[in-house]
């Protein structure tokens, strides 16, 4: 069973992503900020990370940069309400960029896509 780490500071969204992605057959871990995500990533070595960008303590960009330094192989999907982040070249290091939506299909598709790529 593949493991997905979902990082989001919004409690309701963590719950939504957890139940929805579990229904897709993933084991889902959640973290509510960047530093927690970094620890979980190091401990659990998830197969993919779904990362919110705007979070207190450590934001998604910084968390991504640190995780990528430690765990180069883990694909990261940025999942944010802010489409303007796409203009920031720092986000280009991510494997995917999904605008947050109540329709989770694009996120699910992107997850399948990056994990299929990673398993080569």
């Amino acid at each position: 069973m593949k493991t997905v780490l979902v990082v989001d500071d919004d409690k309701s969204l963590r719950r939504l992503y957890k139940v929805e992605l579990e229904a897709e057959g993933y084991r889902v871990l959640t973290a509510e900020n960047g530093s927690e995500a970094r620890e979980l990533a190091a401990e659990e070595k998830p197969d993919a990370i779904v990362m919110d960008l705007r979070m207190p303590a450590m934001d998604g960009l910084e968390a991504m940069a640190r995780i990528l330094r430690d765990e180069k192989r883990i694909p990261i999907i940025l999942n944010t309400a802010y489409s303007s982040y796409q203009d920031n070249f720092l986000t280009w290091a991510a494997d995917g960029f999904v605008i947050k939506s109540a329709d989770l299909d694009p996120l699910k598709r992107k997850l399948r896509e990056v994990m299929a790529r990673a398993s080569y």
């Binding site: 919004d10 939504l16 309400a81 802010y82 489409s83 303007s84 203009d87 109540a102 989770l104």
Partner: protein, 486 residues
């Protein structure tokens, strides 16, 4: 108007006479100071000349310079001894002082004595004739007497026209002038009483004319000033309008920024609401009547998300990244992306793309957004099918991109509002689509135009400069940091 039976200056001592003169000048200048209307000033001046308590002439005429001509403007005086006698008797019974007579002048009491005004209207002397006696007097700036048809002390004969018009050979003339220009002439006579013109009278008329000139000049300056003020006021109101429209633009920009922040903040709870609603909907049995209600939540959330996308797109357009872009390729890929939407209502898609277009320096993602918005608008205008034509042509120095539909067209009363944020004619529109298109085109320093015939269709055209190297370079020099929400 002089009393028939009263000597004009019944004072023997010259001191008393001086005092009387001063008091006349004082009264008249007081009255004139209160007058800003030229007509009223002229009338006041003439009343002062003819009043028994004033200078006491029988009749007075004023001629003013106008367009290189000396023209008769106004006159005062009776037309016959009988009329004079009647008027003066009446005035004497009133026992009014000069000040009271002058103070009683207003728009209603200004009446034109018919005969003398018929006379004055016929005075028309070209100033270009320096030999004309009246022109000479005007230029000399000295009052003078005409005795038996000869001006004294100039010893020049009066012209026959003046003698004929006035009907007397004895009269006084005083020029009206200011430092820098001649204004006109004051003519006074005793045509009714034939009382002799005294030297003292003449001297007083000269001083009087100077006061009258100042008053006249005042009314003219006031009129000029009033005109200047009205010009200033109209400039001021234009300025106020400009300020108001700038304020309006700034207000819209502020609303736009606020909307962007709000949109961002709303998105997260919206994803929760919609996401969970979708879950519950999926878990609800097909025959459950609540499915329909859940479906409403899901689709309303989807609508709000689209609104937020539009708001964010409209506020993202601040940064522009230019790269050489193949416009034809861009159009094909946008059309491919919207294939499902285009075919949904049975719209036929046609390309009229000119081969071998020069590359354009453009921000592809912005152009993509603009084209998407235009195409979506066209599709909305053709709910029951039609033709969508996407075209490109080279029109030096531009590449012209056109999006044409055979839809409903845009009502003419909406043309002016098309690019106003949040203006929409659609039930589900955000009113930002064309605002974004306009912003994108502006970012590219291009031109945006449209043609629309209600019932026949609409064409939007974007013109982008083929070689904007210079402005691209200058834009790149501007410091631009990625816009990060704090």
């Amino acid at each position: 108007m002089a009393d028939l039976d009263t000597p004009q200056f019944p004072f023997s001592s010259s001191l008393e006479r001086r005092l009387e003169e001063l008091s006349i000048l004082y009264e008249v200048s007081c009255a004139l100071q209160k007058t800003l209307d030229e007509e009223r000033a002229l009338y006041t001046i003439l009343v002062g000349v003819t009043s028994g308590r004033g200078l006491g002439f029988n009749r007075a005429f004023v001629l003013l310079e106008e367009n290189e001509m000396l023209r008769g403007r106004l006159a005062i005086g009776p037309s016959s001894p009988e009329e004079a006698s009647r008027i003066w008797r009446k005035l004497r019974q009133k026992h009014q002082t000069l000040g009271e007579v002058l103070a009683s002048i207003n728009e209603q009491t200004i009446k034109k004595d018919f005969k003398v005004n018929a006379i004055v209207d016929r005075f028309q002397i070209a100033l270009s004739d320096p030999e004309h006696p009246l022109v000479r007097i005007l230029r000399s700036r000295q009052a003078c007497r005409c005795e038996n048809g000869v001006f004294q002390p100039m010893r020049c004969s009066a012209d026959s026209q003046t003698l004929e018009l006035l009907g007397v050979a004895d009269f006084a003339v005083a020029p009206l002038f200011m430092a820098d220009k001649e204004l006109g002439l004051l003519i006074a006579d005793n045509a009714i009483t034939h009382a002799p013109l005294e030297l003292n009278n003449l001297r007083l008329l000269q001083i009087y004319a100077q006061q009258a000139s100042a008053a006249l000049q005042n009314t003219r300056l006031y009129k000029d000033l009033a005109l200047q003020i009205s010009v200033c006021e109209s400039a001021n109101s234009t300025l106020r309008e400009t300020q108001a429209s700038r304020l309006q633009a700034e207000r819209l920009a502020t609303i736009g920024r606020m909307a962007a922040v709000l949109a961002h903040e709303i998105r997260t709870p919206l994803v929760s609401i919609g996401g969970f609603a979708r879950r519950v909907l999926r878990a609800t049995a097909a025959e459950d009547p609540r499915r329909e209600e859940l479906q409403i939540i899901v689709s309303e959330v989807a609508r709000l998300e689209r609104l937020i996308d539009q708001v964010m797109a409209s506020t993202r357009m601040i940064q522009t990244e230019y790269r050489p872009a193949d416009i034809n390729e861009l159009i094909r890929s946008v059309a491919a992306m919207l294939r499902a939407e285009i075919s949904k209502n049975g719209v036929r898609l046609a390309f009229e793309l000119q081969a071998g277009l020069p590359a354009i320096q453009a921000d592809e993602s912005q152009l993509r957004q603009a084209l998407t918005n235009l195409i979506m608008n066209s599709l909305d205008a053709m709910p029951s099918g039609g033709s969508l034509t996407l075209g490109t042509t080279v029109e030096e120095p531009f590449v012209r991109i056109s999006v044409s539909d055979t839809g409903a067209g845009i009502a003419q009363q909406d043309w002016g509002k098309l690019f106003t944020p949040f203006f929409t004619t659609k039930a589900e529109g955000t009113g930002l689509g064309l605002t974004v298109v306009n912003q994108v085109v502006e970012n590219h320093r291009g031109l945006l135009q449209f043609n629309s015939t209600p019932g026949q269709g609409t064409t939007f055209e974007i013109r982008l400069a083929i070689d904007p190297e210079e402005h691209v370079a200058s834009r790149r020099q501007q410091p631009s940091s990625p816009e990060l929400p704090s």
